[in-house]
Structures are given as structure tokens and as C-alpha cells.
Amino acid sequence: MTQELEHQHHHGPSQDVGWEPEHTHSRKGFFTDSSICIGCKACEVACKTWNENPQDGDYEILGSSYDNTGALGANTWRHVSFIEQDEDRIEKARESGKKLVSLGMPTVRPPEGPAAAAAATANAATKNGTNMPDTAEFRWLMSSDVCKHCTYAGCLDVCPTGALYRTEHGTVVVQDDICNGCGTCVAGCPFGVIERRDDGTVRTKEDRDGRLSRQQEVPNKGVAQKCTLCYDRLIEGQTPACAQTCPTTSIKFGAHENLVEEAEERVAALHAQGMTEARLYGANKNDGVGGTGSVFLLLDEPEVYGLPPDPQVPSKDLPLMFKKVGIAAAGLVAATAVAFLGGRK
């Protein structure tokens, strides 16, 4: 399977999906650096406010640390997960991060430039390497998840109506007025991001208590919904709402190429500080989706954050399936022939 993709890489995955580098716009994306996320959820709120998405939960504690919106879905396009971990798990994360880097995956160049300088200052500023995370017995991970805007986007590939399309910014967007709500894309996304918005009512606390409803109007009922990377803001030259509001610059927006570079430098700097648990997610263009437009710096295995460790675009199997079907058909023909031949005996 990988061979199939690599074969196509001669002219690059982005071109494969119909997005040309000579385009007037660079491919846009996010770099979400979970090492400086403070879990304030401002991204969730800014996203819902800008996109006028309905409130999501049922106003009950979910039972997942401080997370009460649960997952990405039709209404929640940015989602912050909270993971409480003990010493054992931290040690494992450090080991696995080290291995990833020594395998060259993701690619980490020797630190240079500002990252190296920062790392050097960090080391110089401390005695006994105390700039390392010293509270090693416990940690609380927070990370803001979002649509990956994949290079090979499963949702887009399987959409029968053409409602999903790739924009001039290299992002993947649903056209609300074309989507017929068939839901094929939901199964097509390897990350479980895209979802059909409820066409019924949103259950609210008011419903439970029989209170006067203060429910907002729900737009785009029944159609597939997900992050647009704030397409309407991009065409105005503005930053997406989540990145604009992030108080610690954990969410960075920019040209995909630059962000990946920045992300790699950041991992190198963290490793230099002893935080070997740092690793990138989505920055490898050889992965099962050809790399993602939204890249992440994580401090543990992707599964810990509810992310698939090895995402595969379902449509990637299509050529192979054709081949297999071809072989199978040929085999069938052969077998039939043999049968006939046999029959002649």
C-alpha cells in the first residue's frame, strides 16, 4: 500500500489531490503545540462563536477530567482533551519519544537557529538541568484537537455529491448548500472528525427541567459539518478564530510548510531540554493520509489523546482494490477455464 503512495510522491501528494504549488495561495494549516496549551478552551468557544455552531453538551459532567464536550463533532470543531498521568506513563512517553526521534520519525534536524539558542539559554539558565520538567510524578496533558485537513482527505474522496472540496488554501471544506446529508463522509474520515449535525433538537438543560428554552437557532441541520479552517476569515486575510484567540500561542496558523519546519525545531528544542516525550503528529507526508494540514506536537502516544496511531485514508485502497478485483476476476476466468478444460477430460 505504501508503495502505491510512494509511487505517487514523485510529484508530491498535494499535487495528487489537485492542489498546485504554483497556486496563488500557500497551503494553510495549524500547528498545535500541546506543550504550551493551558487547557483554557478559548479555542472551542471562539470557534463556536465565530461559526455560530450550536452548544453541544447536555450540561452534565462527562466524567473525563475537565473535558465536558467529549470529542470533535458536528458542533464542536475544536476540542481540548485532558489527560491525567502518573510517573510510569511519563517515563514510557519519554522512552517512546526518544525512539521515534532516533528512528528519524518525525525528521528532526540538529538544532540550529532560534530553537537552538533557546535551548542553550535554557540549559545555561539552570543548574543540574533543572529546567527539565521536575514534577515527574504526575502530569496533566491538554491538547486542542481539530480537523486535520488531510493531504488525502477521506471525506472528500468518498463524497458522492461534490459538497466537500479542496479550497485554494489547500483545506477541505463542506459546502452546506450542496451536502445532502448522506453521511458517507462520516465513515470516510479516519479521525472521526466529520459528523452530520442533528436535524432534530439539541437536548438542553432547559428540556430536562422543563424551563423556558433559550435555545439558539441551529443552522445547517442534517448536513455534514466540520472545521473549515475559518474559510470565511481566510478569504479576508484573517487568522482563524481559534488561533486568533489562543492566549499562549499554542495554536499557530500559517503556511503549512513553515509550520512543519517550526514544529520540527520545537521538538528538537524540547528534546534538548530533556523532554524526550515530545513528538510530532501529522507532519509525516509518508503516513496513511499523506500528512495532515493540521500538525500537532504531542507529549505522548497519539492514542493517549484519542488520535489514531496510524491513520489510513480509506480511498487509498481503491486502486489496490481494483487491482485485486482484477486479479480475482482473472483468477475466476482462469479457474473457469480450468474447469472447462477439466471437463473436457
Binding site: 472551542e44 450540561y59 459532567i61 533557546a118 539559554t121 529546567n131 504526575f138 432547559e206 492566549p247
Partner: protein
């Protein structure tokens, strides 16, 4: 903060409660700084810090005191800085007795009044006859002082100080020198004491001590940041004092990356003390006149500052007369003391809790609630609501029908039957308020930065700005009394109230800012704005509503509107907004240079003395008379700014020095000493005196206290609870529980407990718990988490329970829940009258609380078990007073 080499966040959950300011902590970290979070809970701040140190609530003075001892013992204090800029060599008079001598009390305590007479804490004065003036320099005694909440009254400079020419011993060998007193006072504060009191291991203490001291000195600076985790204690002001002593010893004040950051910041909390909503302050930290002792302007001014003392408070007459001119215009003349008699007087403490108690007693007719939700946000919520039911009228201005506006129909007391709607005589008025995008004006944030914002959209429906509301209200009141001949109406009749309004009747906020800034009332410059408060005069020729804001309109330009992006200017960013006073970004920045005016180091230089021009220059506006040479030693008898020497970096202090020992200003001791929180179940390991003797208590049946260590009934409420906020909500919820996007993020009231406590008490993950205090019983969902750590303290295990206080019971919010503040009684810090809400005692059991009357029964069962009365845990002195006291 971005320039700090080490940041200790203690008494604050900065990442959650000040996320925007926290960007500078992450910036400092990215530049290589060490971030340490000292807090009872592992929070989102701890998650970003390199180190989290769990601490038992209310024991911060022991930890900080031990750091002071560590610095002194290991000779790590910044000698050139400390000897140049602090009172370390000053000699204290011989009547002073320390906690070492009196079992935990200082000299001057009056056990019947529960107050200190501060006179024995004074400096030994340099006059030959050896006479010692009282710290007040007036006939006031300590008792009247206390009632005024004098710590606050005295503003940034402390009390008036006639006798500032104090004796010094530069060798520091005199047994009554501040240095020797400090050494003796903190001798008890050992790492072992830290372990026994705070539950912090010697290794963690060592880590903290090393980090702080290695990152202080000429080349490096350490910064402390605190918020309500330090202030909301019965001795909270002293927590901050301890940090101030430590930071002075380490030379971290007035320098880039140093300081003690008081994190305020919600909307304009800083602004609300600058131009105050407090009963005991006038704008610019001038005290409110006190009936009986400030009967004329001169008496009042004498009590604020002596003309003979050093520094800028000596000019209080200029500030006060300008204020009176701003308020009463032409009616304020030299003949009538500039209408000083129009100014209301206070005759006691009228803080929010004393006011609620007076309401209970029928002593208050009407109440305005603006931007506040006392039914949810104040300690002892039940007393707050019951008190409001005794009012004749109540005005609530808010965005939504908050619980303070609806308690009469759907509050907890309606549900329990303690109040019946038809029996309540209070007339409640609700006025919808415009939000910050719907009005123009300024916010003043935690850096003292005044920032202007424009109106983006008009407010909806009947909603109006505060400015419009009060302008219109004042206009109507003035109309009513326009023809009155009653002398009582004169102040209102003469009040200047002539702001230009727009076509909607909304006054021009900039005209108000101009009045605050000040202007000339006569002479050739009549009508022109003042460029600085140094132009203010006490002869009626200038007017100005708040002297420290003078200069915000300098040159007729609204500097609060400046918004030059950071990338277009240097790091001080003096073209973004305007910072009082006079756009100085770092206070006392004279201390960023040595005694001779040279920067302590290239890395940490900020302002310095330029020999060639004979001026202080640098990256910040110098917080010092700009032409005052480091070598200058003017005649001290000049008084005021003119008396400042070239090394008096702390220009607001009466002696120009940073106070390691506070001879006045603090009502509960000249040096911080550890007392256990009022409801602590732990014996005070430091002194025989268990609790702060001068804390304010109310001996009433409707504000009870759990029995503390050694009292009858101790152990019935075995656990500690501490209240706090989370990022997702805003204080009492008025701005978040009505908004679905925020409400869904933290939908239900919860408590945070350790797995150990959960196992001990049978709590289930995400199940329900009932928390019981002498005041009430509330229910909460249970978060069992390793973020809560049981602490081994004095041979016992102390469990701490975390309770966010955002929820309240009412009928209008999107989400509701029991209020944590209903559990609290009322014990106050004597300096600032803030309530103890960070450390209190409770019991916890699994399951939801009983409904209706059964809830009251449950609370009573526990009270009976502990045999609680209105006097429980309200005694002041643990031991009999010893000889030499008084």
C-alpha cells in the same frame, strides 16, 4: 514577567484565572526561565510549570519565612541593594516586643478590643531627648485606626510619619536594628518547620530556595505572582508582606523581571481601587475622611501625610484640594475649605460584610448591586440573601437576572421555607446593563495600565452603560433638590455634573477622563489639561479627579487610546495604553540602578543616571525625580519630594526606603508571623498563639465557625476545603452560567478530592458528595484526582477538598448548582476586611444532600455534635497575656 529568570506563582492559579497575562509566563519559560507553582492543588498552572509544590492552605508565611531565613543564614541577600534602599539598618524603639518574647503576639495587643496599638513598633527617632512620637503623629489611637481599615486607608505610603529621621546602625550590629530583629524573628522558620507546617518536604524546600536565590542578584531576577490565594485569608495582607521582605532582601524590586505581581485584571478591578468602590478610600488612595478626627481639611491632611515626611504623599494637600475642585467646582473655595464639609465621613468599618450585618439588623434601607452577585459570590451566602430580605429596596444592574436579583422567588431559602415570597417587603428593581463592547471608556488592568476601548455596537433594549445610568440618576437627583433650602442638599446642588452627552443622552466618557486627569481652573492656562500631578496645587487653581491618573490626557491627547503594536516598539511598549503614574511601567525603577546610579548589570538595566545630561534616563519613565543625582543629600527638613535623597528609591514611603520592618500601616504586626487558619485542625507549630489575634470575627448565630484545634468539637469537621475559580466561568457566574458555550464547558458544581480521601469516605468517581460546614450543606459532583495530594502535617494526614464557587441556585441561569460560598462563615483580615475563604473546615459524605427542611436538620446534627455556639472559635488569645504587653 517575560524578563524573569525564575517565576514563583503562589496563591494564584494564573493559567486558569489570568490566561491572557499568562502568555508572559510562557514567554519567560521559552526564554529559559524556571516556573514553580506552589499551590494546594495541581492546576492548569502546575501543568505548565516545571515544578508543582503542594502546600497546606494558609501556611504560606512559614514557607516564605523559611526562605527569608535561608537567605539570611546563607548570606545570600543582595547587600549593596539592601543597604542602599531598605530600612535594614534602622533601629526600632525599645518598647517593641516581638512574637519571640510574647508567645506569638507582638507588643501592643489589647485582648478586649482585639486590636493592636501600633505605637511600640515605631522607629527609634534621632532626636536627642529620646522622645518617640506615635506612628500617627496625631492624637489618633490604634483603635480608631483599625476601624478605618487603616492599612488600606493609608494607601501606598503608609501612615503619616512626622518622625522619619530615624536612628540607623550601618554595622547592623545593634540588637534592635531591623537586620537583627529579622534574624531573631525568622529563626524558627526552618525547613523542618516548613515540613511540619506546610507539608512540604525538605527536598522540595531546598529546590525552591535554590531556584529563587540562584536566580536573584545583579544578573538575574525572580518574580513572584499571587492572587486571591494569598489575599483571601484572615492574615492575607501579611502573606504579601512576607514576599515583599524576601524580594527586598534579594534585590528583586523595581527591576525588570522582578517584583511581586498582584494579579487582578478582571475587567477593571485595578481601576475599581484606583477610583474606588471601597468605603474607606477616595480616588488615588486618599483616605476617606473619618468623623470626629478629620473635622476640618487641615486635620484630615495631617492624618494623610506630614509635610515634613519624604516623598510624594507629602503633597496630599495638592491632590485633595484638586479632587474637591473637580467635584464641587466654583463652590469649592479657600473660605469653605474647598467644600471639604460636603465630603461624607465614615465612622467605622462599612465593608461588605459589616454592611450585610447591618442589613440584618434593619440598619440599611437600600442597596445597589452592580457587577456583583453577593448571593453567590460573597462568603456566607445565606446571610447575604437573608440580609437583602430586610431591605426596603434593592437595585440590581446586570446583564441577566442573577441570583442576587431573584433570591426572593427562587433562592435556597425559598426552597427551604426560611423565606416566603409574600412576606418579603423588599422592592427589587432590575436594570439591564450594557456590556464592554456596548460602551466606550477605559479599563485599568493589573499592570496599572489604562486602556481605552470604543463602543462597537449600541446596547440592546433598555440596557445602558454605568456612565449613562449614573449620569442620568445624578441629574434626576439634582433636579429633585434644585429648589431645596435644606443644608443637607447643598453638596448635591453644588456638585459639578455638566458632561456633554451624545444624541442618545450618553455622556462623553472622554470628558470624564479629562476631569479625572485634571485641568487648570484659573490663571493663564485656565481650561488646559494637566500634564502631571506635579502641576496640582492646593490653592484651588487646579482640579483633578484622581491624582495618580494625571497625565493620561497630557497635552490634550488621550494616551489610553495608544495602540502601537508590540513589534513596532521596544519591550517596555510605552506606546501601548498608559500606565499610572506618568506612564511608568515598573514602579520604583530607581532601584534598577545601584546607589551610584549605574545599572546593576547590563542584562538587567532599565533606568540609570546619565552624568552628561544630569538626568535619569533609560527604557522606562524613571520613577524618581528626573534631575535628582544619586549623590544628592538634601536637607531632610525640606519635606516632600524635595527631601528625597539620591538613594531614596521608594519615593512613596515616608522615609524613602523599602520596608523590611513595617513600623506602621499593618494592623496585625510589623513583621509577618504564622497563625493557623481560624478553622484549622492543626496545632500551630510555630507559636503557642493559635490564630491571628486581630482577625475580625462576628459573634453571631448566623455566622458560625467550626471548632479549631484544641477546642471542644474539633474533628467533627475534619477536612479542609478551599474555594477557587476555573477558567470556564467568571466569578459568581453572571457572565458565564447564562452563556451556553461557557456553561457546557463546566456544567455542574464539582469538588476535587484525592483518591485517598475518596477511599476513606466512600466517594465514587463522578458521583455525588455532600459537603457539610457549620453554615450549610451543599452537594457536588466528585472529581477524584491525583491532582489533590493528602499532606502529612504534624503527625496527621490533612485532606484538602477543592470547591469552585461559580454556581448558585436560582431559576434563570442556563446551569445552576449549590454555591460553595454558602459553606463559609465570616472571618476577616483586619487590614483590608477581606474574608477567609481559602481555608475552612468541613465534613464530606457520599450522595446528594437532603432537600427542604431535611437539609437544615443535617447541618444542625453536625452543629450539635460539635456543640457549636456563636462564640465557638472566636476567642483571640490562645494563651494568657504575658508581662510586658499592652
Amino acid at each position: 514577567m517575560a524578563n524573569a529568570d525564575c517565576i514563583v506563582i503562589q496563591g494564584s492559579n494564573m493559567a486558569e484565572c489570568h490566561p491572557v497575562g499568562f502568555q508572559w509566563v510562557t514567554e519567560a519559560k521559552a526564554r529559559g526561565a524556571k516556573i514553580i507553582h506552589v499551590d494546594p492543588r495541581f492546576t492548569r498552572t502546575s501543568a505548565i510549570a516545571q515544578k508543582h509544590v503542594p502546600i497546606r492552605t494558609g501556611t504560606d508565611i512559614v514557607l516564605l519565612g523559611a526562605l527569608i531565613k535561608y537567605v539570611l543564614d546563607n548570606d545570600l541577600w543582595f547587600k549593596e541593594y539592601v543597604t542602599a534602599f531598605t530600612n535594614i539598618a534602622t533601629i526600632i524603639n525599645e518598647d517593641f516586643k516581638d512574637t519571640e518574647d510574647l508567645g506569638g503576639l507582638f507588643s501592643g495587643f489589647d485582648p478586649t478590643e482585639g486590636k493592636y496599638d501600633l505605637s511600640s513598633w515605631a522607629y527609634e527617632q534621632a532626636y536627642e531627648d529620646g522622645s518617640i512620637l506615635s506612628p500617627e503623629g496625631t492624637e489618633e489611637n490604634g483603635a480608631t485606626q483599625s476601624e478605618k481599615a487603616a492599612g488600606d486607608t493609608l494607601g501606598a505610603g503608609g501612615a503619616a510619619m512626622n518622625d522619619w529621621v530615624a536612628k540607623e546602625d550601618p554595622t547592623l550590629q545593634h540588637p534592635r536594628s531591623v537586620y537583627q530583629i529579622l534574624k531573631r524573628h525568622y529563626a524558627r522558620y526552618t525547613p523542618e518547620m516548613v515540613e511540619e507546617t506546610c507539608g512540604i518536604s525538605p527536598e522540595d524546600f531546598e529546590y525552591l530556595a535554590e531556584s529563587v536565590t540562584e536566580n536573584s542578584g545583579r544578573e538575574k531576577t525572580t518574580c513572584f505572582a499571587y492572587a486571591l490565594g494569598w489575599t483571601q485569608h484572615s492574615a492575607g495582607a501579611q502573606f504579601i508582606r512576607t514576599a515583599a521582605i524576601l524580594q527586598l532582601l534579594l534585590g528583586n524590586m523595581g527591576r525588570p523581571g522582578g517584583g511581586i505581581m498582584a494579579l487582578r485584571g478582571h475587567a477593571t478591578i485595578q481601576g475599581s481601587t484606583d477610583i474606588p468602590t471601597l468605603f474607606n478610600l477616595l480616588p488615588g488612595y486618599l483616605p476617606m475622611p473619618h468623623a470626629g478626627t478629620n473635622d476640618n481639611l487641615q486635620d484630615y491632611l495631617n492624618s494623610v501625610a506630614s509635610k515634613k515626611q519624604k516623598g510624594f504623599w507629602a503633597n496630599a494637600d495638592n491632590y485633595m484640594v484638586s479632587l474637591l475642585k473637580a467635584w464641587w467646582g466654583d463652590a469649592a473655595t479657600a473660605e469653605n475649605d474647598y467644600a471639604y464639609d460636603y465630603m461624607p465621613r465614615i465612622n467605622g468599618a462599612h465593608g461588605t460584610y459589616q454592611t450585610a450585618v447591618r442589613m440584618m439588623e434593619g440598619g440599611v434601607d437600600g442597596y445597589f448591586i452592580l457587577g456583583q452577585n453577593p448571593a453567590v459570590g460573597s462568603a456566607n451566602g445565606k446571610l447575604q440573601r437573608m440580609a437583602m430580605s430586610k431591605l426596603k429596596w434593592l437595585v440590581v444592574r446586570d446583564f441577566r437576572l442573577i441570583e442576587s436579583a431573584t433570591w426572593w422567588k427562587d433562592g435556597p431559602e425559598i426552597k427551604s421555607g426560611e423565606l416566603k415570597t409574600e412576606d418579603i417587603d423588599t422592592e427589587v428593581f432590575f436594570f439591564p446593563a450594557a456590556n464592554h463592547t456596548e460602551k466606550a471608556g477605559t479599563f485599568t488592568q493589573t499592570q496599572r495600565m489604562v486602556q481605552w476601548r470604543e463602543q462597537a455596537i449600541p446596547p440592546p433594549g433598555d440596557a445602558r452603560s454605568e456612565l449613562e445610568f449614573f449620569y442620568d440618576f445624578g441629574r434626576r437627583l439634582k433636579e429633585r433638590v434644585a429648589h431645596s433650602t435644606d443644608w443637607r442638599d447643598k453638596p448635591l446642588q453644588d456638585l459639578t455634573w455638566d458632561y456633554p452627552v451624545d444624541e442618545h443622552g450618553d455622556p462623553d466618557a472622554e470628558a470624564v477622563l479629562k476631569e479625572i486627569n485634571g485641568y487648570y481652573t484659573s490663571g493663564p492656562k485656565k481650561g488646559q489639561v494637566l500634564d502631571t500631578f506635579n502641576e496640582m496645587k492646593a490653592d484651588g487653581s487646579t482640579a483633578g479627579g484622581c491624582w495618580i491618573y494625571s497625565g493620561v490626557m497630557a497635552g490634550g491627547v488621550n494616551h489610553a487610546k495608544k495602540k502601537v503594536p508590540g513589534y513596532l516598539q521596544d519591550e517596555m511598549a510605552d506606546q501601548w495604553g498608559w500606565v499610572w503614574p506618568l506612564n511608568r511601567r515598573i514602579l520604583y525603577n530607581r532601584a534598577s540602578a545601584d546607589a551610584n546610579g549605574k545599572p546593576w548589570s547590563e542584562r538587567k538595566k532599565l533606568v540609570w543616571w546619565d552624568e552628561d545630561t544630569g538626568k535619569w534616563v533609560g527604557d522606562d519613565v524613571p520613577d524618581f525625580p528626573v534631575g535628582l543625582a544619586p549623590t544628592a543629600r538634601p536637607d531632610p527638613n525640606l519635606g516632600g519630594p524635595a527631601a528625597l535623597s539620591g538613594t531614596d528609591a521608594f519615593i512613596m514611603q515616608a522615609d524613602g526606603k523599602g520596608w523590611l520592618f513595617a513600623p506602621k500601616g499593618m494592623l496585625d504586626g510589623p513583621l509577618p508571623a504564622h497563625y493557623e487558619p481560624p478553622e484549622s485542625q492543626v496545632r500551630n507549630p510555630v507559636y503557642p498563639q493559635q490564630n491571628s489575634p486581630s482577625r475580625i470575627v462576628f459573634k453571631r448565630g448566623d455566622t458560625l465557625s467550626a471548632p479549631g484545634y484544641g477546642e471542644e468539637g474539633a474533628g467533627v469537621y475534619p477536612h479542609v476545603f478551599t474555594t477557587y475559580r476555573v477558567t470556564e466561568h467568571h466569578t459568581a457566574g453572571g457572565m458565564s452560567r447564562w452563556l451556553p458555550y461557557l456553561a457546557e464547558l463546566q456544567p455542574e458544581m464539582f469538588c476535587e478530592v484525592s483518591p485517598e480521601l475518596a477511599a476513606e469516605t466512600g466517594l465514587e468517581p463522578y458521583g455525588w458528595a455532600t459537603i457539610i460546614s457549620p453554615q450549610s450543606a451543599i452537594e457536588a459532583r466528585v472529581l477524584i484526582t491525583n491532582r489533590m495530594t493528602p499532606l502529612e502535617v504534624g503527625g496527621q494526614t490533612v485532606h484538602q477538598i477543592g470547591l469552585p464557587y461559580h454556581w448558585g441556585v436560582g431559576g434563570d441561569a442556563t446551569i445552576e448548582g449549590d454555591g460553595a460560598n454558602d459553606l463559609l462563615g465570616m472571618t476577616l483580615d483586619p487590614n483590608v476586611l477581606i474574608q477567609e475563604s481559602k481555608s475552612a473546615a468541613c465534613a464530606i459524605v457520599p450522595g446528594r444532600r437532603p432537600r427542604g427542611n431535611a437539609r437544615l436538620d443535617l447541618v444542625q446534627t453536625y452543629r450539635d455534635r460539635a456543640n457549636i455556639s456563636e462564640n465557638t472559635n472566636k476567642q483571640r488569645v490562645t494563651i494568657p497575656p504575658q508581662e510586658g504587653e499592652g
